[in-house]
């Protein structure tokens, strides 16, 4: 008796499961769900993205877009497992560089070339070529470009005035060191730094290496020629940075300060300069103690100075290039949505409301804030766009660059050893 009951019971369970399976299969066929994984934390930006997604859904019945957020560090740690599981998102945020390349090699991604080239290459032609190239490996484009940016020095005009420093006269590294000295003498903390996160300090070593080695020297180093990253310009970059570190230019306790702490120090007017992203005018405000920060007219901007005798020029930019990578099993509408996201009107709106540096030709005119306009001009005139080294060289070498940059500044390692450490790490990655 009990056997019979359990048999019929299990049969009905199986039947239910089957029906359930059909039902879920049915809904899946009717709806394509594009899962959009990002690391964005600014509520207004997410609100705008959600709105853009809704507009797209209404134009494409049957398509649903789900935004999924992961915190930056968690996102990076989780991605390898996630990409290889059935739970992979349809599209996710990428910084390009070695990480994207590693992902592309495994076959977890789908290249977007077919979509770029459809309609006579309409989408490809609308984009800035440097942005497309920056997200390409092995002759294929692995992510849809979304935004770009530059790292520059931002300074507090009031504090500069108080110390009697003229920002327009800072053209070389020695000028900058001079300005740091003058600021210190005036009792002002010259630079805000986030040493705990390390990467904020990697900007210094990266820029110095770019200024010393130039584009050619840098690419040679990556290819392993002339002693790779152990070559003279890279050691010299470390020496330049040591000279800055010796002046103790950062705020007290900068080695325990996060990037947000550094932005707060700048936004509160506790430090005169910060080497930072194009969105600094916005982020210094949100991170400041008052939440208002410095008004735009108090903030000035100058490019990273050149070094005497270096091969690099002031128009060589270090900056991000972000895009959206598409996974292997993403619904076919994903590329359609990305094309929509990269259309001129949307990019203009994003540039205006979320202060991104757009990647679509002609969209940068929508950039309205004067400080951001300067950045857009600098981007349009740039001679070389180098992606952040902690992305470009891959997560492992990138972490080494971050480590040694922090150590050089704080006097924990000498420039030659630092260059050797980077070269040692990178030599394992060269194919």
């Amino acid at each position: 008796m009990s056997i019979r009951i359990s048999k019929s019971f299990s049969a009905s369970v199986a039947a239910l499961a089957l029906i359930g399976g059909f039902l879920s299969a049915g809904t899946a066929a009717a709806d394509s769900v594009i899962r959009w994984m990002h690391v964005e934390q600014v509520p207004t930006t997410i609100a705008l993205w959600t709105q853009i997604a809704k507009d797209f859904e209404s134009k494409h019945p049957g398509v649903k877009i789900e935004l999924q957020f992961l915190e930056n560090q968690a996102f990076k740690a989780k991605m390898p497992t996630l990409l290889q599981s059935n739970d992979a998102p349809a599209m996710f945020y990428t910084w390009g560089g070695g990480v994207l390349q590693a992902q592309s090699v495994t076959g977890a991604l789908r290249s977007i070339d077919p979509a770029l080239d459809s309609n006579g290459g309409e989408w490809r032609k609308s984009l800035n070529p440097s942005a497309v190239e920056g997200l390409s490996f092995d002759g294929k484009v692995w992510a849809a470009p979304f935004r770009t940016g530059v790292v520059d020095f931002y300074y507090n005009k009031d504090l500069f005035k108080k110390a009697g420093v003229d920002a327009s006269k800072i053209a070389t590294w020695d000028d900058l060191l001079g300005a740091v000295k003058t600021l210190k003498q005036a009792g002002i903390t010259p630079i805000a730094g986030g040493g705990r996160d390390k990467w904020p300090l990697h900007f210094y070593w990266s820029y110095l290496a770019m200024r010393e080695a130039g584009q050619k020297g840098f690419e040679d180093a990556k290819a392993g020629e002339n002693d790779g990253f152990n070559a003279k310009p890279f050691i010299k970059a470390g020496e330049d940075l040591t000279a800055l570190g010796k002046l103790e230019p950062f705020q007290n306790g900068y080695l325990g300060a996060t990037w947000n702490d550094a932005l707060a120090a700048f936004g509160d007017g506790r430090a005169a300069m910060i080497l930072s992203f194009e969105n600094t005018p916005a982020t210094q405000a949100t991170n400041s103690t008052s939440r208002k920060g410095l008004p735009d007219e108090t903030i000035g901007r100058f490019p990273f100075p050149v070094v005497q005798g270096g091969a690099g020029v002031a128009t060589d930019n270090l900056g991000g290039l972000n895009g959206w990578a598409v996974t292997k099993n993403a619904p076919p509408e994903t590329e359609e949505f990305l094309r929509y996201l990269a259309s001129l009107d949307i990019q203009k709106q994003l540039a205006k409301d979320t202060q991104i540096m757009p990647v679509v030709k002609g969209a940068s005119e929508a950039v309205s804030r004067p400080l951001l306009k300067e950045v857009a001009t600098s981007l349009s005139k740039e001679t070389w766009h180098q992606n952040f080294l902690d992305q470009d060289l891959g997560p492992n070498v990138g972490a080494v660059v971050n480590d040694v940059s922090t150590e050089i500044v704080s006097g924990g390692v000498n420039p030659a050893d630092a260059a050797q450490q980077i070269e040692d790490a990178y030599s394992l990655e060269r194919k």
């Binding site: 560090q73 740690a77 290889q84 495994t106 705990r196 390390k198 306790g253 080695l255 972490a399 924990g412």
Partner: protein, 310 residues
């Protein structure tokens, strides 16, 4: 246990009816078959397999994508022991054990001996002392990060009050570890105190009364009666201290993240910072294996040597 009962039953079985005997001797198999597989399966899938996998990955240079192909033998292990940050992590783990034995446990024992007796307010203080332990590690780390902050934190405030330059302990590579040790003691002494309270309450009052009658002083009673009777609790407490030290991770991440200059890494933060975040899964697995060997060796030898009679 069940088997020995069955054995005894079947041994003196003559008196028992036949049917009952048969059902008893057979009963262990259905039980085993019914109850063992779920636990065994879970243990295999969630413990044994990942351990085996980590051991396997540790011989590869692998970034976590695809399947590992680049066999590098014992190179990962060589790299671990050549890494200065790992040596520092080992030292820090040792330091945590040391502080836990020399500072935390005496402190916990002292407080326990005060609040174990049924005096007024003892319960209240027990609760107060136990509160830090209830707090999540991450939350404790974030609270103390703020306390130690030189700009806006408590430490900074005190320094400002006395007109001194505020210290930035977590940013100072010579001091940061001690600052963390302070938080570790603060966080876990309540737990050890609770262990000791339980131990103290288990001591037979008549023994202490006998000591009283013999004219023992308070300290003599503590040293010659209480402490020896608490021996097993002390050994257990030290054991928890050692294991806790090897696991310490989620409090350090919000406090310093292992920095500055790797001065506050523990073995687990080292694994995370150098394995997971750098996508060096092979290397990270090797660290995991080393950590595992450490844990197993320590746990077993400690139990063998110190907790033999407990």
């Amino acid at each position: 246990m069940l088997m020995s009962v069955n054995g005894a039953a079947s041994g003196g079985a003559q008196a028992l009816p036949r049917r009952r005997k048969r059902s008893l001797s057979h009963s262990k198999w259905p039980v085993l078959i019914l109850f063992l597989p779920p636990a065994l399966l879970l243990f295999t899938v969630l413990v044994i397999l990942p351990m085996g996998e980590a051991g396997w990955y540790s011989f590869y240079n692998w970034n976590g994508y695809g399947t590992p192909t680049q066999w590098i033998g014992l190179k990962n292990y060589q790299l671990i022991f050549r890494n200065g940050a790992f040596t520092q992590a080992l030292i820090n783990n040792g330091l945590i054990v040391l502080v836990s034995v020399l500072v935390q446990i005496p402190l916990a024992l002292w407080l326990a001996s005060m609040v174990a007796s049924r005096i007024k307010g003892a319960l209240f203080f027990r609760l107060i002392f136990f509160l830090p332990y209830v707090l999540a590690d991450v939350a404790a780390g974030m609270i103390w990060r703020f306390v130690y902050d030189g700009d806006f934190g408590l430490v900074g405030g005190i320094a400002h009050f006395f007109g001194a330059d505020p210290p930035f302990w977590l940013a100072d590579r010579d001091v940061a570890m001690y600052a963390i040790l302070g938080v570790v003691v603060w966080k876990y002494f309540g737990f050890h105190m609770m262990l000791f309270i339980a131990g103290l309450q288990a001591i037979d009052k008549s023994v202490l009364e006998a000591a009283d009658i013999d004219g023992a002083t308070g300290f003599q009673k503590f040293r010659l009666v209480t402490l020896p009777l608490l021996g097993s609790t002390v050994r257990l407490s030290v054991f928890f201290g050692v294991v806790g030290s090897l696991q310490l991770f989620d409090m350090i991440m919000p406090l310093t993240g292992g920095g500055p200059s790797n001065s506050t890494q523990t073995m687990v933060t080292f694994l995370y910072n150098f394995g997971v975040t750098r996508m060096q899964i092979g290397f990270g697995s090797a660290v995991g294996v080393v950590l595992f060997v450490f844990c197993v060796t320590l746990a077993f030898s400690y139990k063998r040597v110190f907790m033999r009679h407990d």
